[in-house]
């Protein structure tokens, strides 16, 4: 490249207010650097490399942990003074509002998909079923945690009652809430589905679930992060694959924000 000055080019120093100040150069350089980094972040090759890490984490956690290991349970004295609400705090649909107005007396939980006997379970039936109460730590993906008491029916009990097919691999939770038109849903594998602490909770801290915390029914899957703890559960579906279900990622956050399906860390 020629080092000759282009005729007519005004050198920055000759200008009353310099175009290229050190600060501008620094900010501009940083901008280029950021743009470069974001290009790396968006690259499909990089994304697939990073997802190798995700798979490794999933496999390693399953490999080194006892599948039936129980999450730590706490005493009432160790509970968070206030358990904050998170995510959607009210589905707000006409259908949900009508159910809530009647204290969910008309609400039923559908259990279907790859099961021998599809079920419809009323709240009264859930209340009468054998239940488990546990005081556990809720870990949000964002980094905060809160300790609360949850009480509900073990999911394994319901799946056995429905006669889960031997070909089923995942349990999907369809919820009443949605964000930006996309319905909330979540899914877990059978290891977590049959874990003794995995319950469909009707109560929190000794009282019926509030709407903010997911009334009338929410999932507790204690060894996973908060976004797996689906609120406002309306339907439990057993499936062999998550492909073709909504976005195929196995959950609202997985589909829309790229969160990891296995939320063990």
């Amino acid at each position: 490249m020629s080092k000759d000055k282009t005729p007519g080019l005004i050198l920055p120093a000759e200008r009353p207010s310099s175009l290229v100040t050190r600060r501008n150069a620094l900010v501009g350089g940083a901008g280029l650097l950021l743009a470069g980094c974001d290009q790396i972040n968006a690259s499909p090759t990089v994304k697939s490399f990073l997802s190798l890490g995700e798979q490794a984490t999933h496999r390693a956690q399953r490999l080194v942990t006892d599948r039936n290991a129980l999450a730590q349970e706490f005493s009432r004295a160790e509970m968070s003074p206030v358990f904050r609400q998170n995510g959607n705090q009210n589905p707000g649909t006409a259908e949900y509002n009508a159910l809530a107005a009647n204290r969910f007396a008309d609400w039923t939980l559908a259990v279907d998909g790859m099961v021998a006997h599809p079920l419809r379970i009323s709240l009264a039936q859930l209340m009468a079923a054998p239940r488990r109460t546990q005081i556990t730590r809720h870990d949000c993906v964002e980094g905060w945690s809160a300790i609360g008491e949850w009480s509900g029916v073990p999911l394994g009990l319901i799946l056995r009652r429905a006669g889960l097919s031997g070909n089923a691999k995942y349990v999907v939770f369809h919820c009443a809430d949605s964000t930006g038109g996309a319905p909330y849903y979540e899914s877990i594998d059978l290891i977590d589905a049959f874990h003794p602490q995995t319950i469909l909770a009707t109560h929190m801290n000794g009282e019926l679930l509030t709407i903010g915390h997911g009334a009338p029914l929410r999932l507790r899957v204690e060894r996973q992060l908060g976004y797996k703890q689906a609120k406002y559960v309306m339907r439990v579906e057993a499936v062999a694959s998550l492909d073709g279900l909504y976005g195929g990622g196995g959950g609202y956050w997985e589909d829309h924000r790229g969160y990891q399906w296995f939320a063990g860390i």
Partner: protein, 284 residues
């Protein structure tokens, strides 16, 4: 060209005497595994710190204890009120607009310039963080095995008996404060403060950051309840994890400063090719 055999390390190094008489000798000081570890680790630590800062941005508050959320009392907060950023440490608020809390027209705890990715994405940051966590875990484990088998730990990193005295360390601290680094034969080996810094990273920071990271995993906590117990709960583990990250950042600053002050060309050559020119003996 003089012969060199790649057996040397900081001590007892191979030598290549220069053709020019009087010039200080070039020694083979940094072996290949150490160099590979250094550069792998340099990349890994930067990715971990930058993606870690983005993860922190999702909930820029730290607590002590088993739990901690917005309505509990944090010991550290980085936040913003409108376009003013602040850092709140133990209840004392320090304005940090332009650096933390609010910078580059963004209301993130850590600004876009230092996070991966630069725009808010907890999901992407987690992908980076956990992929490189594997690189850190594997490379640190391999390096630990190498350190023991090769004798690097015993020979080059461990403090020699005479270096363990307070007076010797105090002397070394004073020399560092005067920016007088070892010269001549003394520069063949790491100096005591340097050894302490490296040992601190290897045996304190890296194990602690990995274990506190694991403690934030609900699955690992269920399987290994000693993890949260060891650190006084998940919220505490998260705080310690963050403090370790601060320790790494401090190490990087001091490390780079030392490289610049000790002669960046010679130091960089040593960590890239292994060859290091002994600094000339100082006139006393």
């Amino acid at each position: 060209m003089a012969t060199h055999h790649a057996e040397g390390d900081a001590a007892g190094a191979a030598e290549r005497t220069s053709e020019t008489p009087g010039a200080s000798p070039l020694i083979y000081r940094t072996r290949l595994p150490v160099r590979i570890w250094h550069w792998t680790n340099a990349l890994t630590i930067f990715v971990m710190l930058m993606s870690g800062m983005m993860i922190f941005n999702a909930h820029p508050r730290l607590y002590w204890g088993v739990y901690g959320a917005n309505l509990d009392t944090p010991w550290l907060v980085i936040g913003n009120r409108g376009t003013s950023g602040y850092l709140q440490l133990l209840g004392i608020e320090i304005p940090t607009t332009g650096v933390l809390g609010y910078a580059q027209n963004t209301a993130n705890a850590f600004p876009p310039l230092v996070t991966i990715p630069s725009t808010y994405s907890l999901a992407d940051a987690r992908q980076w963080h956990f992929a490189f966590a594997w690189v850190l875990l594997i490379s640190a484990s391999l390096f630990m095995v190498y350190n023991i088998i090769s004798g690097h730990l015993r020979r080059d990193l461990a403090l020699k008996p005479e270096e363990r005295s307070i007076s010797h360390l105090w002397h070394d601290i004073k020399e560092h404060a005067r920016l007088r680094f070892p010269t001549g034969e003394a520069a063949r080996a790491y100096n005591p403060l340097q050894k302490i810094a490296y040992l601190g990273v290897l045996f304190v920071l890296i194990p602690t950051v990995i274990l506190t990271g694991c403690t934030m995993s609900p699955t690992l906590d269920a399987a290994f309840p000693w993890l949260p117990e060891l650190f006084g709960g998940r919220a505490s583990a998260r705080s310690i994890h963050f403090l370790c990250a601060g320790g790494f950042a401090l190490f990087i600053v001091v490390h780079l400063l030392a490289v610049v002050l000790a002669g960046p060309f010679n130091e960089l050559r040593s960590i890239i090719t292994g060859w290091y020119r002994l600094p000339k003996e100082r006139e006393q």
